[in-house]
Symmetry: C2
Subunit: 146 residues, 2 copies
DNA sequence: GCCTTATCTACAATCAGTGTTGAAGAACAA
DNA sequence: TTGTTCTTCAACACTGATTGTAGATAAGGC
């Protein structure tokens, strides 16, 4: 993802206004590797701007997704997650206990659908999701069973 | 998925009762390849039993999923989809326009995470989702742009 | 600084899915 | 078949994430 300054430029170039709320959200997202939900972004943003509304956060995140600066992921955790790492496609690890999401940096072969197997679908993108338990939840599950 | 009769047996064997509503749902699911949502199953079921409630449908679908007879999928279409084809893992094609889901029968290599790359995750399952446009939505999109 | 227009906040609504509860019904034993 | 017990049913209200609305506010060009 770009820096807050670059994102402000991009918003202006696209006829969008650069408000204090949006810049606050840009800053919150910068360097965030946790795949935050809109709610999580809102909580972080209110630490800087107490009055920012959740609706504004949703709106700005969707704007960023429309511009291709972040990607929105529905990984089955009950809420949409936002991923600032949009430059190279990568699989995701999802904890089925706490919902934590992590990028998997290991390389995977490009998935190609064999000719004719797509039944007329025009395929745009492929996603790989691994589900399991994150280290923390593994730990607490082990403790429960002893 | 098993036949309605086999499912009834299985329910009894697991201490669950076999009600008319459940048998109706078994029949609806049999041979359904459309990955229906609970809502869709409910609509189909009401054609046989007008008074069956959506809650009962949810309950029975979850029971079936708990017994491993169907799998529940959150593919980002806004509702959980249920897949009676649980015997062999397979990728899914999801239409980003109408939400239609199709099994991809083509074989894909087992996805294995390279050692150390999982950062301590205990990985249980892998999912592959292809997103794109189904033939019908491709058609209507083409017509719109002419 | 002024004006136009996009954006903001607060509030209410939507939508999929779940908890609750009295009533109905299935299983099982005698 | 009958009675007992326990599960399940259906209606209703509720949750939690997300979106629509509308009046107030502020950005950005002049």
């Amino acid at each position: 993802m770009r820096t807050p300054g670059e994102l402000s430029e991009l918003f202006r170039a696209n006829g969008r206004k650069v408000t204090a709320q949006r810049q606050c959200i840009f800053r919150v997202l910068e360097g965030d590797m946790t795949h935050p939900s809109a709610e999580a972004v809102h909580i972080a943003a209110t630490r800087e701007m107490e009055t920012i509304s959740l609706k504004t956060v949703y709106q700005t995140l969707h704007d960023l997704a429309d511009l291709g600066e972040i990607s929105s992921l529905d990984l089955g955790t009950g809420m949409i997650r936002f991923d600032p790492n949009v430059d190279d496609p990568h699989p995701h690890l999802v904890c089925r206990h706490c919902g934590k999401v992590r990028d998997l940096v290991a390389a995977f072969p490009d998935l190609q659908i064999p000719d004719g197997a797509d039944l007329g679908f025009e395929v745009g993108s492929a996603e790989i999701v691994f589900r399991g338990l994150c280290p923390e939840c593994r730990q607490s599950t082990l403790q429960l069973s002893t």
